[in-house]
Amino acid sequence: MTTSTKQMNHGAFEYTSPTRQRTMGVVFLLIAVMVFGFFSRGLDTSLVTTFRMSPGGSDVVAPDWIIPSSIVINILGFICAALGAYQLVRGFKNWTNLVLGLVAAFFVFSFLTWAAAEQSLNLAGLINSSLIKAVPLTLGAMSGILCERSGVVNIAIEGMMLSGAFVATLVGSLTNIWIGLLAAVIFSGLLGLLHAVLSIKYKADQIISGTMINILATGMTSFFSAKFLQKYQQLNNPGRFPTWDIPGLSKIPFIGPILFSNNMFVYAMFVFIVVLTIALYYTRWGLRLRAVGEHPKAADTLGINVYRTRYVAVVMGGMMAGFGGAYFTLGSVGRFDEVMTAGRGFISLAAMIFGNFVPAGAFAAGTLFGFSDALASKLAILKVPIPSEFLLMAPYLVTMIVLAGVVGRTQVPAADGVPYEKE
């Protein structure tokens, strides 16, 4: 993200500092050394790794992909080493981040090849899991983007999602899942309105207002869940959105079952990413929203109604969080249990910052987090000699490393968290 802004700033000039060029070269070489040292060394050359290419439960069957473990790892190691050498000598200039991504991907792939040597690993299932885990995170992060781009900090995403999950279950059980979804969106929209009134009208500290909504949501949902949902199980059985196969596309081997055979929430997430990106960057409404978040006084001077813009943004943010929350019950497991969002709202918040307050960035961050999480499960199943406690840390570690090493400083909207006082 940083590089792209730099490119914009510096126009046609190539901008990669010599230090960064050298550091990256060394990093590539180190990765190559790790590939040889950890994975290639001591691996029997006769072993093969089997990647299964169709997720379980899918009828589109792709043939298994069987590769000789040692040879593939060595080839990938050599490529990494070669890229590192070129980077040190000549430098990839503007392509550095792309090459870094490539090297990281080679590293992960050789890791997988090594871990699954002599065994098999369901690659399609792994990628599908990553995508599905990204759904609530991305939706939550987009809720944050809507609020924070307009200048209101929203740490209440967790509470809004939890409430959404609860309301979706209760109303969905009484009526049907579509009305349940609608109710979740409306209810969390109301929580958004509460946050908006407190932080815009009364200029309350936005962190405190958000914390209050989180406490309120935890208490309220736990209370009503214990009192009604757990006692009368018919109130806790809304059903789930079915898997929708996109005709034609879902029959493509490998890609089809991963991308085009999911439930409504996955497709909705992609639609929202596109719509929100267009709305934020290519419409008058989006320009005004961002202006209000960057410099409300200037926006006000130009006749933009700062308060109304912020109200609309925060309420919409609440609705988006409610939609994401409904995923946990209507999209995932079809029932509600106490505090079932288990902190995903806060991770969404991190994904938003990590993704530099841009919808596509939030999706990338969510997917990365989901991938590390899914990968950690797979590694535990494959009995990799890493303690499972460390595997549980993987998503957070990866996020930190990528945030520090690749993303660099994110650009927070200038007026984020500052109440606007009209003079």
Binding site: K133, F223, R240, M340, K378, A380
Partner: protein, 368 residues
């Protein structure tokens, strides 16, 4: 303006904290008479004459944790023990539901004043409060459920050798799997949870030995005592992902040791229309009735046995302090086949399970 704001904020905070605090139920904890107590005299009539010591009925009192007496789990099972005791030898049974953690001490004390002959506290959440109460009231008898580390002369603790039950479940799973792969995962690994999986893995291995098969267990490495962890006991969505992950690698029978998180795995099975789950602690084919078709069996902790026997010992004036361990032998743990599984499990396998149970009771097979 700012006055209005502070009033609103204060009101909301108070309101939200109230809600957080009163978690399960709003009514003040009231002592509720057991409905079955009225039926008691009927059961009493016949034996009471013969068993001569015509003292007034022994009073057994249960303090629940915040789950409440109808939680379809520990509290409900313990209460069933009291109800059985009421029906069989006409004791008097009472319970107090704890609405929040601060109620534990209050409820335990209320029963001391009430003159209960035995106070039963359910669940490890009450361990500290019960220990304090037992120390303060040396003449009052106490019993704890799933708490086996307290040592008082007036307290009877209970624990469960659940590995004996999961051993049977592992054997059953190995006999029923179609893919030759079964799986398990844990919420957070500590000795009380990993013992489930130890029994499960050994059960599968025993099946392999007996039948010369090669059924694999994913998610738990018995030798290294490490495996697939969720990292919490709350996120059902994680349970779903665990289920997907294990099923993608070929497992068709999964035992989640993670409380409600396991319901997420049940949801994947229902969605894919395949796979079987093994429940833990209580009968999952009843707890998740709508998905009972996907519950193969459950590894049960039968705390009602403990409650019943301890009640009887109080009735007979033979209360003993110490610790009771539920085993297959005394019926404290057991395997409960799923409600819809009766005709799906072959008769030979059922017979083998019975033999195996006898062998474990006889101490011929090690399950840990």
């Amino acid at each position: 303006m700012y006055k209005k704001l502070s009033v609103i904020l204060a009101a909301l905070l108070v309101f939200s904290m109230l809600l957080t605090a009163c978690a399960p139920k709003p009514e003040a904890p009231a002592v509720e008479e057991a409905p079955a107590a009225e039926e008691a005299p009927a059961a009493e009539e016949a034996p009471a004459v013969e068993e001569a010591p015509a003292v007034e009925a022994v009073k057994i009192c249960q303090v629940t944790d915040v789950g409440g007496v109808d939680d379809e789990s520990f509290n409900a099972t313990a209460w069933k023990g009291i109800e059985d005791a009421i029906a069989d030898f006409g004791i008097e049974g009472k319970y107090l539901e704890s609405q929040q953690q601060t109620d534990y001490e209050k409820n335990l004390n209320a029963f001391v004043e009430e003159g209960c002959d035995l106070i039963i506290s359910v669940g490890f959440l009450l361990a500290d409060a019960t220990a304090a109460a037992a120390e303060a009231n040396p003449d009052q008898n106490y019993a704890t459920i799933d708490v086996d580390w307290l040592d008082f002369s007036n307290l009877r603790g209970s624990g469960f050798a659940i590995n004996e039950a999961t051993f049977l479940n592992g054997y059953l799973a190995a006999g029923m799997t179609e893919t030759g792969i079964v799986g398990t995962y844990v919420g957070i690994a500590f000795p009380a949870t990993t013992v489930f999986m130890d029994g499960f893995v050994l059960g599968v291995r025993h099946y392999n030995e007996v039948h010369g098969t090669d059924v694999k267990v994913l998610g738990w490495d018995y030798e290294k005592q490490d495996g697939l962890q969720v990292g919490n006991f709350e996120s059902l969505d994680d349970g779903r992902a665990m289920g997907e992950s294990l099923m993608d690698e070929g497992a068709d029978i999964i035992m989640p040791v993670a409380g409600p998180v396991g319901a997420g795995t049940l949801a994947v099975m229902e969605e894919r229309g395949t796979g079987w789950l093994i429940g833990v602690d209580n009968d999952w084919s009843l707890a998740y009735e709508a998905q009972a078709d996907f519950v193969l069996a459950s590894a049960m902790k039968n705390m009602d046995k403990f409650v019943y026997e301890t009640s009887k010992s109080v009735q007979d004036g033979a209360f003993e302090a110490g610790t009771w361990i539920g085993t297959l032998e005394n019926g404290g743990v057991g395997i409960q086949l799923g409600a819809t599984m009766a005709d799906k499990i072959p008769a030979e396998l059922k017979a083998e399970l019975e033999e195996l149970e006898a062998a474990i009771i006889a101490g011929e097979i090690v399950t840990k």
